[in-house]
Amino acid sequence: MELEKKDAHVAHGHAEAHHESFWRRYVFSQDHKVIGLQYALTALVFLLTGFSLMLLMRWQMAFPDDAMPLIGGLFSEAAAPGGRMMPEFFNQLGAMHGTIMVFMAIVPLVVGAFGNYVVPLQIGAPDMAFPKLNMVSYWCFLPGGLLMLASFFLPGGAARSGWTSYPPLSVLEAGQTAWLFAMVLLITSSLLGSVNFIVTIVQLRARGLTFMRLPFFVWSQLVTSFLLLLAFPPLEAAAVLQLMDRLAGTSFFMPEGLVVSGQIQDYSGGGSPLLWQHLFWFLAHPEVYVLILPALGMVAEVIANNTRKPLWGYRALVYSVCFVGFMSFIVWAHHMFLTGMGTVISAFFQTTTMIISIPSVIIVTCLLLSLWGASLRFNTPMLFALAFLPMFGIGGLTGLPLGLAASDIHLHDTQYVIGHFHYVVAPGTIFAIFAGIYYWYPKVTGRRMNETLGKIHFWPSLLAMNGIFFPMLIQGLGGMSRRLYDGGKTYEFAADILVWNKVMTMSAFTLAAFQLVFIFNFFWSIKKGKKVGANPWNATTLEWTDAPSPPIAHGNFPKPPQVFRTAYEYSVPGQPQDFKPQSQEA
């Protein structure tokens, strides 16, 4: 209650002291909370867009001979004449679905939104280290994202060479130039953000907040930022080289003597398509750890809070997340096992890939062991966090035969790969994002989302996710390739497994339907959700204990917090409550 009174007093004083224009306050804001929300809303819209593209693809794969019902007429002649999807359009949907989900939805959510909003609060800081730079980061992200979406409407359409953009195809195909320019903007946004996060975490921790007292979420963001900082530049360089190939006629990736549809291509040659793959995957492998580490952090916060116990093995968690980050830079060629690489280098990458699974397993094990002897609270964030564990487990385990070159020969570029990585990102990271939204919503809005609607959102989503992605593993093991616009129906050997296409499509549309429950709950609760105070979850970390809900507009805290203990002191013997805030003195 004290926090609320102080908040009102301070807010009143601020409003009188300086009147910010609408533009300064809500559009070109330098406040990490406003920027975090900008990222959240923008990224959620992009998430919905990427999801919609997938629904179109899933329809096509299940019913390749049929026109799209209801909306078929909305598409251009080039994309879907008579509502029947052209292969070129399917390929655009595929490339853009991947690109949008990875670079415009997930990373901006887990880093730009959650990272921006929560990290300064959890370390007791008034804002990020470089507020202006933070604003610039968002304003590079938004145009990049919009350019990416706009590419659908450019002559020739959007990029269609996969999110992986392998040359020579990507150099020759339409839509790729816009993709490359948009990527440069998105990468710049991430790079600037990563500098901001690292400096903030190192320099702006509250008094008494040593590194080993940091919430695990902050550690995960710190490692993630190093990955973004050091892995993105090679892709930026590669994007410049590919732009040069497309616009200046260079041959960085174009081999000599390339013939396309009977036409000899006019390039000097001497380039290497393999070079693109190296530069791309040098980023893209650490990128997948960027997708998962903040999610692990969010899940850890929710689990600690809802088990009323300290996290099991905090030190192991910290060392593991740092080790994962380091190893992620030297495993990239497990995406390239089928490029004709020699056995020495193949053995090297198989080894590093197997090694990197160890810290990942340690992290999941610590989170599982945290449940032992716990006083579990099964609220909606906890349901999502708990479901994350086995789902991420399946994702991780299915990665093992991909990381071993011999089995990868059979599984590479099949539906199995798609099943594997979607298990990690969809019922993995996205579930963690839901957990984070339900958990931190009260801090942002001062109200809780509806619990019943949350459960109605959760259970069908969990079932539907498995309905979509488990059959992919079956299809992949059966030899069905990825990126097939007709769902694989031209292949005789795939006849028995084609039926799964319909199962997956129905699951996808079911998943879509139940997200409507979430969207309704999200907006309805802003005005009608149950009002709560600063710490409705009885949590120990600074964002709950020292800042009101929502935090003070400028500076977050009525007074700078000071930290006296580790992050998860729950159920400490001899204490009146079952939690002891980090900032409580005695």
């Binding site: 190192v202 000599e256 000097s268 001497g270 290497s272 190296h278 060629a333 690489m341 020495v344 280098i345």
Partner: protein, 136 residues
């Protein structure tokens, strides 16, 4: 450190004055001599590297020599102009970490065909030699 901070805080609010931060005014004067010596060394090494390029040595040693001289020059710039000598641990460690990944990026793609299928003669990537280049 905290007394220095307090002092420079006082200096910062008012008129310009000497900062009492990590480098006092007379420390800097000593540094100036070092800067000039480093400049001299860099200039000499540049001459050396150009002169060395006229020596008739095989490619491998030539690359090694060129990179060695460049590394020495770069180290001088980093240690003395960029004050890495005496810089805090966190910065040095970040750079060492970066160096590890940099080396990985340089060497690993190179090692692709250490053992394994090589391109048969004449079908691999080529670079048109400019000496046999025909004008369009």
């Amino acid at each position: 450190m905290s007394t220095q901070s307090a002092h420079s805080e006082a200096a910062g609010h008012g008129s310009p004055g000497p900062s009492a931060q990590a480098h006092g005014a007379h420390d800097v004067r000593a540094h100036v001599k070092v800067y000039m010596m480093v400049f001299g060394a860099l200039a000499v090494l540049t001459v050396v590297t150009v002169a060395a390029s006229y020596l008739d040595i095989p490619m491998g040693p030539a690359v090694a020599l060129a990179l060695l001289i460049a590394t020495v020059k770069a180290s001088l710039v980093a240690l003395f102009f960029m004050h890495l000598k005496g810089e805090v641990r966190s910065v040095v460690w970040t750079l060492l970490l970066t160096a590890v990944f940099f080396v990985a990026l340089m060497t690993i793609p190179l090692s692709w065909y250490f053992d394994g299928p090589k391109h048969p003669e004449g079908t691999g990537p080529t670079a048109r030699s400019l000496t046999t280049h025909e004008a369009h």
